[in-house]
């Protein structure tokens, strides 16, 4: 708390966006971060609460009051150390985290929360610019080896922690570049991929080996899950070669919409559509890219992935973009007395929505209609919810034009075949079964095989993945060494 009365004097300042017409022309990031003095003023709004709800609201428990104070006092060098002490990758979360910390911010009780995410963003960007983010190789090696399966935020966080603890870490990624969903799920305009490349470079210098294009175990299914692997390594091979294995392969099994006409051409999962564009943005050539150009696009699913489909479609040059959400429109404002400090259910409008999109709520798809095997329209019906049951509104059927339908209805679970290859038990939702207890956490039923991130907890946020990766790293370190100095 640099300034005791800062919260009474200064207002919340949102990060700026480039104008829509300009940003639609490129896949580059369009968020304009706070300037240093703006970030300092924003941090002066922090009240240094006796009980900082942000600290517990943040899944990685960023020590927010402390770095706010350091920024206010212009001590950015220590601010990044505080930030890095709980979060391996603030440049990811500073861009794409929905910021549960801000929902929990005490100022949010009856005012606008401190712009915590924008401050985090400013700290890490400055740290990279100043050259403060450097490799931290371990002072000594343990001689133990760990395989990390999956290079998303959970796998990367775990790998970095384990490497710093002196273990020999190899990260396996089935696709051609490191990053998992960060690389191929999140469009560049939300987060440019150079951020991942920089981290990979740092981690390589810390001793992490990366092997891309390697599928571990098996990937059953219908080929709808992006898989650019060139080779496959058997699960047994891995458990033989390494002292411990961390499964951090995400929850890739998408939720399908089994309506009549689903087999028609032009109906794709979001995770078919988005990775292709990221690959092209990265400069690769791709034959037969799914494109929204000149099409009427319908995105089914009202979440963040849906938003990313909307933003990408608009950049492709779609004629129209419509997004469906099954549930009714949430209230614009939450009842803070009953929600704060928890994540509130309320209407959220993303930057992609602002770029042009119709949003339909309380709508359900009855049928995909097509000509010559290609989708041309979609038949919908309005729905109502009574006592938790969904009922269709009679006579509300409607037919909408649709040349491209993108299914962004979330992910059901990890791909079962990967877990099965290791013989890992699944919980009721199909996730790798393991607890998060301080002792014995993250360990699956299979000896020396651990699970973390979406693969263990089901689909979630990047920041949760980082938390799981860090905690799993500690569990693995403890498993290998008997004790661990890694933070939880």
């Amino acid at each position: 708390m640099g300034k005791i009365t800062g919260f009474l004097e200064y207002e919340r300042l949102e990060e700026g966006y480039e104008p829509v017409d300009k940003r639609l022309k490129s896949y580059r990031e369009f968020v304009i971060g706070l300037k240093e003095d703006e970030a300092r003023i924003q941090s002066a709004r922090c009240m240094d609460c006796g009980t900082p709800f942000c600290n517990s609201g943040c899944p990685v428990n960023n020590i927010i009051p402390d770095f706010n104070d350091l920024v206010y006092r212009d001590d950015w060098r220590n601010a990044i150390d505080v930030l890095h002490s709980t979060n391996n990758f603030p440049e990811f979360t500073g861009r794409i985290c929905p910021a549960p910390c801000e929902a929990a911010c005490t100022l949010n009780v009856n005012d606008d929360p401190v712009g915590i995410k924008s401050i985090e963003h400013a700290i890490i960007d400055r740290a990279w610019n100043e050259g403060w983010v450097v490799p931290q190789p371990p002072s000594s090696k343990t001689g133990r080896s760990v395989a990390v399966v999956g290079s998303g935020p959970a796998g990367l966080a775990a790998a970095q922690q384990l490497a710093r603890a002196g273990h020999k870490v190899t990260v396996f990624e089935k696709n051609d570049r490191i990053g998992g969903l960060l690389r191929y799920g999140i469009p560049d305009f939300k987060m440019e991929k150079s951020h991942i490349d920089r981290r990979v470079e740092q981690m390589e210098a810390e001793g992490v080996a990366f092997r891309t294009g390697v599928l571990i175990g098996a990937l059953a299914g219908d080929g709808k899950i992006t898989n650019w692997a060139r080779e496959t390594v058997a699960a047994e091979q891995l458990t033989q070669d390494f002292d411990a294995v961390l499964l951090a392969g995400g929850a890739e099994q998408p939720r399908d919409l089994p309506a009549p006409g689903r087999e028609l051409d032009g109906i794709h999962f979001a995770m078919e559509f988005l990775p292709q564009q990221n690959k092209v943005t990265a400069g690769d050539k791709l034959k037969g890219q799914i494109t929204a150009s000149g099409k009427h696009v319908i995105v089914i699913g009202g979440g963040d992935t849906g938003s990313d489909c909307v933003g990408t479609s608009n950049r492709h040059g779609a004629v129209s973009v419509t997004q469906f959400e099954l549930l009714p429109m949430p209230p614009e404002h939450e009842n803070k007395a009953l929600t704060w400090p928890y994540w509130p259910y309320k209407l959220r409008t993303s930057s992609s929505h602002e770029e042009g999109c119709e949003r339909e709520f309380a709508i359900s798809t009855k049928e995909f209609m097509g000509e010559k095997g290609k989708v041309t329209a979609i038949k919908t019906v309005r729905v109502e919810f009574k006592d938790g049951k969904m009922i269709e509104v009679p006579g509300s059927e409607q037919i909408l034009k649709a040349d491209l339908v993108l299914l962004a209805m979330g992910f059901v679970s990890p791909v079962a075949s990967v877990l099965e290859a290791f013989g890992v038990d699944k919980d009721a939702r199909g996730n790798a079964k393991a607890t998060t207890e301080a002792t014995g956490g993250y360990l699956t039923n299979v000896d020396k095989v651990f699970g973390a991130g979406d693969m263990r907890r089901g689909q979630s946020l990047v920041v949760w993945a980082i938390r799981e990766g860090r905690q799993a790293a500690r569990a693995i370190d403890e498993f290998l060494m008997g004790s661990s100095a890694l933070p939880r």
């Binding site: 005791i4 517990s56 609201g57 220590n78």
Partner: protein, 970 residues
Amino acid sequence: MYPLNWGSQGVEAKLASLCAEAVDALKSGHNILIITDRRLNREHVAIPALLALSAIHQHLVREGLRTTAGLVVETGSARETHHFAVLAGFGAEAVHPYLALETLTAMHAELPGDLSAEKAIYNYIKAIGKGLSKIMSKMGISTYMSYCGAQIFEAIGLKPELVEKYFSGTATQIGGIGVFEVAEEAVRLHKAAFGNDPVLARMLDAGGEYAWRTRGEEHMWTPDAIAKLQHSARSGKFETYKEYAQIINDQSRRHMTLRGLFEFRLDPARAIPLDQVEPASAIVKRFATGAMSLGSISTEAHSTLAVAMNRIGGKSNTGEGGEDKNRYRNELRGIPIAQGTKVSEVIGADVVEADYELQAGDSLRSRIKQVASGRFGVTTEYLVSADQVQIKMAQGAKPGEGGQLPGGKVSDYIGKLRHSVPGVGLISPPPHHDIYSIEDLAQLIHDLKNVASTASISVKLVSEVGVGTVAAGVAKAKADHVVIAGHDGGTGASPWSSIKHAGTPWELGLAETQQTLVLNRLRGRIRVQADGQMKTGRDVVIAGLLGADEVGFATAPLVAEGCIMMRKCHLNTCPVGVATQDPVLRRKFQGRPEHVVNFFFFVAEEARQIMAQLGIRKFDDLIGRADLLDTRKGIEHWKARGLDFSRLLHQPDAPAEVARYQVELQDHGLDRALDVKLIEKARPALEKGEKVRIMQDARNVNRTVGAMLSGELIRHHPDGLADNTVFVQMEGTGGQSFGAFLARGITLYLIGDANDYTGKGLSGGRVVVRPSLDFRGDAAKNIIVGNTVLYGATEGEAFFRGVAGERFAVRLSGASAVVEGTGDHGCEYMTGGTVVVLGKTGRNFAAGMSGGIAYVFDEDGQFSKRCNQTMVALERMLPAAEQTATQDPAIFHCGQTDEVQLRRLIEDHYRWTGSLRAREILDHWEASLSRFLKVFPHEYRRALGELNARNETAATIAKARESDKPTVKA
């Protein structure tokens, strides 16, 4: 220090050799021993400085060598005031905190302000020194030499063998860890320091001691606990409350409280159906809210608690800051609040920022009226409006200290209620100036019982070793009620050193109190309340089992009405309008009585469920049943293993017919009071406002004359009666507390003399004491009234033709008094009113005086030496014409020139007492005037100036407010 590889087992041998070395050193002629941990390194672990010091200190004492040696501790572990205090208390003549000093040298440039390293160190040492003075003053110790080795500490969680050997003479009640565990902790710390924890490579641990941190020290209030409690209170969902209670009750099992280490002795055969347990509505009547003053918390937060407690039939507590009479006057007149009445319509729109509608029959009256050492706002009417009057002897969280309200929170309104100066911080003195012994306490109980004869009198004590004996004394002193407060409260503006390190758990004090009272067959006469971070039904039941009839809650209901544990109470910046007086922030207050009501019913419901499991139908049957409690089995923590609660859970050996809970009322002997006669004779005045003259002998066996009469008068006429309506002329010797709380309209005219506490709490009446007609000496040289006269007097007049004892007009806050000389400490802590002294004063006059004016006739020209001028200026008296010409009338006391006021008071004094000294002064007025000195507090001068400046612009501000309500972001 000793080699790390010896492990924790190595500590004993090293301590023994240290002791031997110390003896050798002294015998070889050295006389200063330095105990140091400076040379610790990766291979050598330091013995905790306190342990090493105390071991050597005790050893030298036993060897009879201690007085030949000086012990100096050089340690990196001493940082905070408390660390120094403990080292001093266990024998360190000097402490060198080298690490703290080196740290300051390293970081001085980063600190705010342009500090040199020397200046930073100077400031640090000064701060530690001030902190030590404060701690010593709490214990009533004046010099370091007396504090050094005095061991004013109680150990909690140390094994008796350890204490006996190394901290001989310190009380330790529940056992705990031994010397090896102490060393083990040191070894662990050492390993962490020299370990390779990546987070600690460049930074210190997140801590979390003073503000919660996820990976820091555990706190009872976690973000989730606060959120769940608030959501349950607002939504009325018991399931959400149970989530809250789960967090709290569970975390108490994480070894944060003694009760967390207990479990109930459940026997399924004894369990009864829930519906056979008395209803929650009966249990909530045993609940009270804690003494959080209006001032420390906002009027919104304060009155919401009151409304809630009145709705459930519990009791809220004013705290020590007085209470706005608008909150109770109509109720006492029998005019109920109607449905839909707004809070602002009761208290006044100008003092309420967050308004809401009340229910029919609501009451904003705090049923418990607190009387603390500051006596803020303690008037007759205040006392008469009480169901219970609570004498705060000490506060659980900060025993030995008075309440402290920072200047920023003393708004005009708060200042008015407290009869003090706005903007001036208020620190209540540690002791009550009228209590220096248990007899004095009995006297105060008697005084209060006389004024508020329908109220019960409560005495608030803090948990400590020996509190049982004190409680027994309190019961014999005729208190109706006693509170045993634990240490773990004090979230507000209390000093951190007190919050963290002072006081003991209520479990200890309550158990001792119960056992002592039962053994002495006193328990049936007094009601016992336990208080201190009570949060759940489990806490309530445990308090009952250990002997409480009632339970007090403070933080939890505050959280229910919106507190989010910001811990910014001392800064006046509470963002939810609870602990602030800033109108902008108070507007954000969102608490409602129903939130608090919900919370208390949930707590009672949880308690009922436990009672059903225990097979207890009524709360009364629960009280004192410590046999239903057991030490929790399988306490896993390595430091919890040696705990032994058998003393705490002991059942006193008393016959079955001895009461275990309150069953009878105290006999206060009010029917024998002289006032019974006075009231009879004053009937025409009380009932019809007619003038009454009464003649009465005065005898010193009649204590507290006039108080019951005043209480009766105020019950009929809240504003009092016209001056002199009841005139009581007495002759003889007035007993103690003569004219205490005398109400407006009553004059006690005494010919003779009077004892201590004359005019205590004077509330508008007049007390005159003039010497007996037989007296032949010089009145101006002879004592006429005792000590501590006019303590806390808020209004009225007093004329004493003669000299008063010590502490004359302490905490005077509004009355006027003329006296012909005083003992030491006159006008100490005075905040308002006018005192005229026509003769010599004692030493330390005006210490801590922040308001009002004293005019002192400087007979011998030496007054300036006897006056403590830390907070006041001495000014020459100006003739009225000169004062008008040269001074801004804005800073005139009471809007009049000094000469006019002084002359009028002396004339009145002469008229009432026939004082020769007054006559003489008046006869030579001009010459006399120049011999008077005006004692003018700096703060008062500032406040007068500001008040006046405000008045001038008040109209403008009011207008601006009307047209455009200021927003938060002004």
